[in-house]
């Protein structure tokens, strides 16, 4: 099909190498989670759900899992609203200002987030912001670029004449937004929310500094468990729960908007 020639066996071998390096470790964790044994034996002698039971019976793990879901929902929702505001403004703007604003809103994406975590910790300590709002605020900042970019992509195929038509029919700006603009950028808004949720749910670097006693997110709980506890197969189960949740969300994106736009956007 391609005018550029076929993919030879050497290239297929390189594809196999790359994908096994990237996906292999995740696969091992998922397989290990179903171990019936006390420690990971490869290949596993059978399958069991005992480590998933153990995961939900551990108060710390279950609490961290529920907290992570709540934080991710809240942070993703606020980041989506703010990212959509920013994208609506930037999407209509022309000239140098648009480019500048675009890099401002994308900045948290390329910034070393562990430093952002440290900086926020110092500010929160000085001003006196409690742990939980602090984590949510950090996750909003980290998620904002994903929402912004996703909604902005929707604007590239957006015909401003539709809004002008609504306004010439005397729709108020709010009506125009709710009845015309929002339905058109809906796929971008949904994708942005799901991405911000996934990013928050797996976020490590800012959370490392910002979680505190009683408020530990699942990735941080997994990390401290790996550092300080012996039985690691509970961690494999916790990880598999997280991977499963991501798979469900990715399938949701596929059902709602199609995955093609995610890769291109």
């Amino acid at each position: 099909m391609s005018p550029r020639g076929r993919i030879g066996p050497a290239l297929w071998a390189m594809i196999a190498l790359n994908y096994s390096l990237v996906l292999g470790p995740i696969l091992v964790v998922v397989v290990a989670a179903f171990s019936p044994t006390d420690f990971f034996v490869f290949p596993p002698p059978g399958l069991s759900l005992r480590w998933f039971r153990a995961f939900f019976e551990l108060d710390n793990m279950r609490g961290a899992f529920l907290l992570s879901i709540q934080v991710a929902c809240l942070a993703a929702s606020i980041a989506t609203v703010l990212g959509t505001f920013a994208a609506i403004h930037v999407g209509r703007r022309r000239g140098a200002g648009a480019g500048l604003l675009q890099s401002v809103f994308m900045a948290p994406l390329v910034f070393p987030t562990i430093i952002l975590g440290l900086a926020l910790l110092l500010v929160f300590r000085t001003v006196g912001i409690p742990v939980l709002p602090g984590i949510v605020l950090a996750h909003i900042v980290v998620g904002l670029p994903y929402c912004f970019r996703s909604v902005l992509t929707s604007f590239q195929s957006f015909d401003p004449a539709l809004e002008e038509a609504a306004q010439s029919l005397r729709a108020s700006p709010l009506q125009t937004f709710l009845r015309v603009t929002l339905p058109l950028i809906r796929p971008g808004v949904l994708t942005g929310w799901l991405f911000a949720f996934i990013v928050s749910f797996g976020e490590l670097n800012t959370s490392l500094f910002l979680t505190g006693p009683g408020y530990v997110t699942l990735p941080i709980e997994i990390f401290s468990y790996l550092q300080f506890e012996g039985g690691q197969l509970v961690v494999a189960a916790a990880s598999t729960v997280q991977v499963a949740l991501i798979v469900v969300l990715v399938l949701a994106v596929e059902r709602l908007v199609g995955l093609g736009r995610v890769v291109r956007g």
């Binding site: 005018p3 550029r4 809103f105 910790l121 010439s168 797996g202 690691q232 991501i246």
Partner: protein, 297 residues
Amino acid sequence: MTPVMRAEGNILLPVFAAASRSALLLPPLALLVLFFLTPLLYLFFVSFHAPSQSDLFGEGLTLGNYLRVIGDSFFLTIIERTMLTGALVALICLAIGYPAAFAIARMPPRHRLVALLLLLFPLMVSNVIRAYGWVAILGRRGVINSTLRNFGVIDLPLDLMFSTATVAVGLLTILLPYMIISLANSIAAIDPHYEEAAQSLRASPVRTFFHVTLPLSAPGMTSGLMIVFLLTLSAYVTVSLLGGPRTKMLVSLVFDSVVAFAWPRAAAFAFILLALALGVALIVPAVLRPGRVRGLG
């Protein structure tokens, strides 16, 4: 409705719309100013203070936190290791990722989509899980050791964890998708006419690749190298899980200082890390000059 009324509406509404559009910009900008820009400026400010027993930082300005790092060979060794590991990981990602990206760019669109999604999915999985995957493979009771023992190849488990090489392998596989996605998009964007022209001038496929495809993929190489290198700098969890207590990187120094409540020192390490990141972000494009591809520079 008379034509006159409609005309009035057309004149006034865009003014309101423009005003409300500017108002939209305020909340997201306020978020970034309050919880991104201000904290970083504050951190920079803190880095110029002496430590304090009771407060976050002591009184009076000092360069001491930075000078201590420059004068201490222990810190300099760690910084050197950080930079070498980052450069090595980025270059190996480029070397092994390029052939895969090249193949992906040549797939029919449907297959390319699946191939890219299989790389996007691992990026969504938390890095702590992906690093743990390597613990499960390389650890004393991991896949490699238990398999070798089952087959009677070894009696005692091999020591595969807690070295710079382990950290590099972990970082490499965690960050590889960024490199491949960025290369594949860049290679796919190359106008096929250039390659056809080279071949019609009787250039061999190898010559075409090195004289046409490779130079034209400079934008993908630049962004891939930059993303991978920058992300190695702040990968504390991977470094800590795979490197153990002995293989420290610059980011471990930031973390250790925070644990010791040495806030000004942590701030100084953070800004040294940022300065190195900025240096990389300037050097890589200066060497590869991706602007040439678009006829700039």
